[in-house]
Symmetry: C2
Subunit: 124 residues, 2 copies
DNA sequence: CCGCATCCGTCACGATACTG
DNA sequence: CAGTATCGTGACGGATGCGG
């Protein structure tokens, strides 16, 4: 291992770095940035929402991906799922405490992207 | 469109929201969160690095994906590529001003993920 | 040797149809 | 309404090749 590797591997503010393949951060990062994870988390940032609402609001997401994304986010403890035993069925999704905590770091990033996007794509 | 849709579509701090499918933010978001985008940006956060360094440091990335990721990030104006006409060839990558600006929003997020990852995966 | 393009197998994604 | 099952397609990753 060269000096530049150790330099890159460890970084101030991180425990072990995120670049090594084996660290758990990779898994969580893959879940959160899983093409729809960020958008679903953002959609839930203002409170509880039903399946159909999320389906319509996160435009372009397929039912399969919405189900899969919600399930992994729930397994990671970021999203809370509450099923009401009614007819017709009603299922509500909301952020957990940890999910809200994550969102507070996610929102400024999304605001930056939203603010810079058009300017970035203008030049190709 | 119901009231919840408009409520979700617009959000304080965002121009048009990111959830609509047609907005440019989606494209940029897909580039940045493109499975390797975040890791490459993070790897460049401490300065200029060569191709081979990035290849070794971002563990698990294939040469094809590294090339593709670097090219899209360069097209978006986040990464600067400098090729030195030497034998053996030497190509150096670094963050642009905008890339550094983005990274300042990315780093706290990654630090949060790195800090919470192990605890999140502990409970399945 | 290093940076990168190309070919090809595999797998995740998306559209549709169907169930409780 | 809230999902699950099935299937075709496109993106991804590995191996290979080539120019410098």
């Amino acid at each position: 291992m060269t000096s530049v590797d150790t330099q890159l591997g460890r970084r101030p503010g991180f425990t072990d770095g995120i670049l090594p393949a084996a660290c758990p951060s990779r898994t969580v990062l893959d879940h959160v940035t899983s093409k729809w994870g960020v958008l679903v988390l953002l959609a839930l940032s203002d409170g509880t929402h039903r399946w159909g609402e999320l389906r319509r609001v996160v435009q372009g997401i397929s039912e399969k991906m919405l189900a899969q994304t919600l399930r992994t986010l729930e397994e990671d403890g970021l999203v809370v799922r509450v099923a009401h035993p009614e007819i017709p069925p009603r299922v509500e999704y909301s952020l957990s405490d940890r999910g809200r905590d994550l969102n507070e770091h996610l929102m400024p990033l999304m605001a930056w992207i939203d603010h810079n996007a058009s300017e970035m794509l203008g030049r190709a």
